[in-house]
Amino acid sequence: MSKKTMAIKRRTFLGSAMGAASMVALGAPAIAQRKTVHFGASLPLTGPYEKVSKVYKDAYDLWTQTVGGKVSVGGQDADVKWTIYDDENKAARTAELTERLISSDKVDCIVGTYGTDTVLAQGAIARKYERITMQAGAASARVDEQIGGHTTFTLIGPSRNYPTLAIDHLAKQNPKPKTMAIITMDDPVYQEFAAGAIADAERHGIKIVLNEVLPMNTQDLRPTVLKIKRAGDVDIIYNTGWDLICIKLIQECVALDVNPKAIVGGHLTTNPVVKETLKGQLQYIYGITNWLPQMAYKDKYYANCQAFADKFQATYNYAPTYHAAMAYAIPYIYQHVIADGSEGDPLDSKIMRKRIAALNNLESVWGPIKFNDKGRILTPGVPVLQWQGTDPKVVVLAPDALANGKDLYPMPAFNKRG
């Protein structure tokens, strides 16, 4: 789920160690002596992913605050300590830092980084030490194939499933869409996303008139939109790319007066930058999202997602995206599985792995937690939303259980709006 750039990626250097004062590694294995649970992670804190990394970091921090800096390990209270390094989205650096987290810092629980390459690199090291990691950043099926289940548990659903609900929902509209153009960024995650969208569309008899595969560093979407325009009647334009691609797509559709019946902006339309940039132009645009504050999930500390979102907003002064809930859920899951000391050291990797794999719909603000045998979370469909009103607001359309409004469909032409 990453935007990547060709911009010169700067060399990486050690990032921040955050959290409490330094800890001397404890020699004795006995559970009763454990005073600290050490969480370790690396994140691309500088560079193009700086913003999304901040959300992750703040969410980890919010969890620590929520539990009051203490968790129960096998019935004993222990302090929570975090070590987070900056991997700048580089695989080599991530591998090095993971080695450091395991062999020098001796962390108890490894929290995954963000981005397919870095997650894979981290997994390779963790696998060598027979440790487990839990990650929220890589939706590619490649993670499942290589390190899923035995080494890595993934809290984000497979990107293949992202478009299903949205296309099911659009196929029900009147007049029924018959044709679709897809914008695919050339990276496994987006390719899988697009493949899902194509299969779902064909299931409904929607014809794919164009599947435009673009390099990750594409700067200009006008050639693409011109091609869509010249492809004839296109009822749906589906963007599988990230927020910036969505913004450029809509800007170019406005510029060239391309007016399909619906535009699906992708999975990141709720990122604040989209609305800040597009303002009223965002009206009628569809989106999908893995998580919304409107959802009816809860955990031990928050009665619903809105309460979580409010707390996050109050603490960090910005509205949480889905990344926040997902990242918050990682230490929350660890917290749950290490509480029980009945089978020996609850921080032992084998015990943790067994318990995480056995989770059966653990309640969390991120939704019920249950993994398949590849370590991938089982998720319901990804909800569908639409931006409505001249100062566009999110209206959830599907699934029915979450819906709080009706479609505005088909979308009126851009040049015929007030």
Partner: protein, 313 residues
Amino acid sequence: MSAAIASMRTLIENDRIRLALLALSLVLVALGPFYLSAYWERVLIFVFFNIALASSWNVIGGIAGYPSFGHGVFFGMGAYTCAILIVRGGVPFPLAILGGGAVAGAFALLFIPLFRQRGFYFALSTLAAQFAIETVVRTWSFTRGLQSFDQGWNLPDLGSLDFFYWLTLGLLVACIGSIILMLRTRVGLALRAIHKDEVVAASVGIPCTRYKAIAFVFSAVWPGVMGAAYAPFLVFISSDNVFNISITLNMILIAIFGGIGTIIGPIIGGLLLSIIDRLSWAYLLQYHTLIYGLMIIAVISFRPAGIASWFKK
């Protein structure tokens, strides 16, 4: 301070002491796995890679005076060749390493027409070549991955951290050794002459294009070999992490930082940058990249001959 440097200089200038020091430090480094933590072992492996890459770049960029800005492409090619040979062809690892070097060397021959350019134009032509080749590797189904959507390769675990430590150290020693040997033949003198003045070099009978080609292929083969060793070390490779432009820039920066055109330069540069990188800068948090940029500017603006020049007259 300057007295200390001066006395160090006299020490280093004595050949026998120099050899003894070299042998001693090599033994100390070679025994690393017996006293280093896994983390520092891994750090040192990266340092070995960096030094070998910078030393190879130095042959064409520093000694022959042709600043290639596309050298990372040979590293990436070595890594991809190794991965494809092992995954698609089941080729044994040692052969895959040779394959990486061979493919990189063969591709280097395609760069020969670019030697009609000099200076900025050569630098930017090679940079453009890197971007063009990277795009092809990224999009061609044979190279991009095993399955249609894959973007990169996963390799089996081929050895322990210790194995890779000794492997990269061995390759590094072989790389630097071969450079020293090559420079002692007439190739070395030819390259220095080409660097100083190509017209003069040609006028005394040096076939410049041939020697530039030799230097370029030589300086491409080693990154190819190192790339091939790097792929199974990292286990998962993708075009993002082995064709990254930062790999090219690192080669150049390390060489310049330590002292361009010298054998010792890339070694000093590689060690020093890693040390600064990991120790001091750990405390500068989000400003580390800024400091890094400032340091580049400072070294170039005030000490263009690099850190190595502090130890010379």
